[in-house]
């Protein structure tokens, strides 16, 4: 029977299937970090269980680590205890860890791909919802909670109900200045934060095929913001070229590639839902509200809730404008920004830094704002420094930081103050996400860079 890509990968990982029960699915790679793992390791200890496959498990420190003074002990004692707990757990259970100061430390979803551990056809989980990022390689990858982290540590499997499948077809060519971030923000605005709930989304079409590997990761990363636990893109030559030469690339590469080439949706396979989007029509996209579906073209105005027909959406928009301190009808480009954040598992990779550096090169950021540049991993930081990107940002007046999740979720000291407004290349504009009372506009790296120069939400075309 014809199968979708998601169905093929699923079928290859079913350990046990029984009528009336969820499938028991084998997990090929388990990524862990300090925030969602301590209670899981405690559970193992209480039950006297071991980590079944430490050789399929890897840890790094990302969520709460500082991005400055990383050669000194972590100042916040509660954060320090959590990081120390991860280190002790990894030592006790024999799990490889990349700690602060190590060149392979960084945001877990940047580290997996850069090590070459993320490969097509795998099942990958992590106690973090943005595990969907790895789907860009044609892997079935999704976020899990701490109980599931414990389950995978103990058994290398998860009991899971089979998801439905959704295709999002993006055909056409992106205009200059329009990026994969704009594609995914437009998709989320179209289908809503619950639109993908219960589905694995497969992104297809000429505009997706044309994207680089890192741009594909940005799309899959935000699948969860559309409600889908996983997003997928079929592997192709772009994927194979990206993996080649990475530390964990298969020794018998050709054999792996011939398998990877079987990983596509069969011609006559049927998705439960299909959605079409025209790439030609897309413009730089930003959010104005407090959920990722509350977004609009940068060239438009803050919407008027009164124009929204759906009562629930209207109420949500009204509340969002109050929280965001915005007036309906204000041109989005007139919104003044206090902090620009360039980084995160969405847009903290080398291509993102290069794209932003190209915009700010030889210029100065506006005196009214600060700009934080936080590479997604220590390796990305080193790579950027080798190319001189650090100097470009520093000369422009930005802060050059060490790797971590940083202001994406405001768990470490990098936070917005009450009422402070950011243009952020991260993934969530929830109330208080980047700091209590902080206001977040989600943007692409290009918009972040142009905004830093002009002081108001802008695209490079405005310069």
């Amino acid at each position: 029977m014809a199968k979708t890509l998601a169905e093929k990968i699923w079928a290859e990982h079913v350990v046990r299937s029984a009528s009336g029960e969820p499938d028991l699915l084998y997990i090929d790679l388990h990524l862990i970090h300090e925030v969602t793992s301590p209670q899981a390791f405690d559970g193992l200890r209480l039950a006297g269980r071991a980590v079944r496959r430490p050789d399929l498990t890897i840890a790094t420190e990302d969520h709460n680590v500082p991005t400055q003074n990383i050669d000194k002990p972590i100042a916040d004692p509660v954060s320090k205890l959590q990081v120390d707990t991860l280190r002790a757990n990894c030592a006790e259970f024999g799990v490889r860890i990349h700690s602060l100061g190590d060149k392979d430390q960084g945001v877990v979803h940047v580290v997996g791909p850069q090590l070459g551990l993320t490969q097509p056809g795998m099942t990958i989980v992590c106690g973090d919802s943005h595990t969907s990022t790895h789907g860009a390689f044609g892997a079935l990858a999704f976020g899990i909670g701490t109980s599931e982290v414990e389950h995978v540590l103990a058994t290398q499997t998860l009991p899971l109900a089979r998801p439905k499948t959704m295709a999002i077809n993006v055909e056409g060519d992106l205009k200059p200045g329009v990026t994969s971030k704009d594609i995914i923000l437009a998709i989320i605005a179209k289908i809503g934060t619950g639109g993908g709930q219960g589905y694995v989304i497969e992104y297809r079409g000429s505009a997706i095929r044309a994207l680089s590997m890192e741009s594909r990761m940005t799309v899959c990363n935000m699948s969860i913001e559309a409600g889908a636990r996983a997003g997928l893109i079929a592997p192709d030559q772009t994927t194979f070229d990206y993996i080649a030469g990475k530390p964990h690339a298969p020794a018998n590469f050709d054999q792996a590639v011939s398998y990877w080439k079987t990983l596509f949706t069969d011609q006559d396979a049927i998705f439960d839902v299909e959605i079409d989007l025209n790439a030609d029509d897309l413009e730089p996209f930003v959010t104005w509200g407090t959920n990722p579906a509350q977004g609009a073209s940068l060239n438009s105005n803050v919407p008027n809730p009164a124009d929204i027909a759906d009562e629930e959406a209207r109420g949500a928009a009204e509340r969002a404008l109050v929280y965001m301190g915005l007036e309906a009808g204000t041109p989005l480009k007139k919104i003044a920004i206090d902090t620009v954040f360039l980084g995160s598992c969405t847009n903290g990779r080398i291509e993102d830094l290069r794209a932003a550096a190209e915009v700010v090169k030889g210029k100065k950021i506006a005196s009214t704002l600060r700009m934080l540049v936080v590479p997604g991993s220590a390796r990305v930081r080193l790579e950027a420094e080798a190319e001189g990107l650090d100097k470009v940002f520093i000369d422009a007046g930005a802060e050059w930081r060490n790797a971590g999740c940083s202001m994406c979720l405001g768990m470490n000291p990098d936070q917005l103050a009450v009422g402070e407004r950011s243009a952020s290349t991260s993934n969530r504009n929830f109330e208080g996400r980047q700091g209590k009372g902080g206001r977040t506009h989600l943007v692409s790296p290009l918009v972040a860079a142009a905004t830093a120069l002009r002081g108001t939400l802008s695209s490079p075309a405005d310069l």
């Binding site: 079944r52 509660v78 490889r96 919802s129 909670g145 103990a154 109900a161 629930e312």
Partner: protein
């Protein structure tokens, strides 16, 4: 895990959609390495507002949370489930839950019940009119009942059985270790291991 068969309690109306897990518990509360004590972080930002529904004395004793659509979106933090449980909630009712939050809740014994939005609205009206209205959530019969109203809800047989027996998934999976052993023997050799690469 405690068995869940039926629960009766008063309910609190949370008339908001898209309540993400950053609202349920902000990231600053996630630094703890325990599973308990998260109740102080529950809806932390909103609880500063004396008007917020959880701050109203009439709803102090509520054990059922009745929320708007798309409850639990965003981060996979299971701390959101722990915060609700630590605070005293046994059941959350909404017309749609985010996948990861729902998975976490049902693993941990917090029953998440999906009703039609019209049924949610009717419960809101009833508990706003009379906050002491008792709501009974019967997992065995898959019903939510209050006053003279009875709503049916769907939940798969397996999860229902597991919750009613108070079983945790790991214990069940370990019984199938033979299947895992034999599956692992057929794992393709090109798939990566995380063992450090030498050199």
């Amino acid at each position: 895990m405690d068995k869940f068969i039926t629960h009766t309690g008063s309910a609190v109306p949370l008339r908001r959609s898209n309540v993400d897990t950053d609202q349920i518990i902000p990231a600053v509360y996630l630094k703890r390495v325990t599973r308990s004590g998260f109740e102080d972080g529950l809806f932390a930002a909103w609880r500063n507002d004396p008007e917020f529904v959880l701050n109203q004395p009439a709803y102090k004793a509520a054990t059922v949370l009745v929320a708007g659509v798309d409850f639990g979106t965003g981060s996979s933090r299971e701390h959101a489930v722990w915060a609700l449980q630590n605070y005293g909630f046994k059941v959350v009712i909404s017309s749609r839950f985010a996948d990861i939050f729902r998975g976490n809740s049902l693993k941990g014994g917090l029953l998440t019940v999906i009703l039609d939005q019209s049924e949610v609205e009717a419960i809101w009206a009833a508990i706003e009119a009379e906050p002491s209205t008792q709501i009974t959530v019967n997992l065995e019969n898959r019903t939510v009942s209050y006053n003279s109203v009875v709503c049916n809800f769907a939940i798969d047989d397996y999860t229902r059985w597991r919750l009613m027996e108070g079983l945790d998934d790991i214990g069940l999976t370990v019984k199938n270790a033979d299947f895992i052993d034999s599956f692992e023997k057929s794992r393709p050799p090109h798939k990566p291991l995380t063992l450090p690469i030498k050199g």
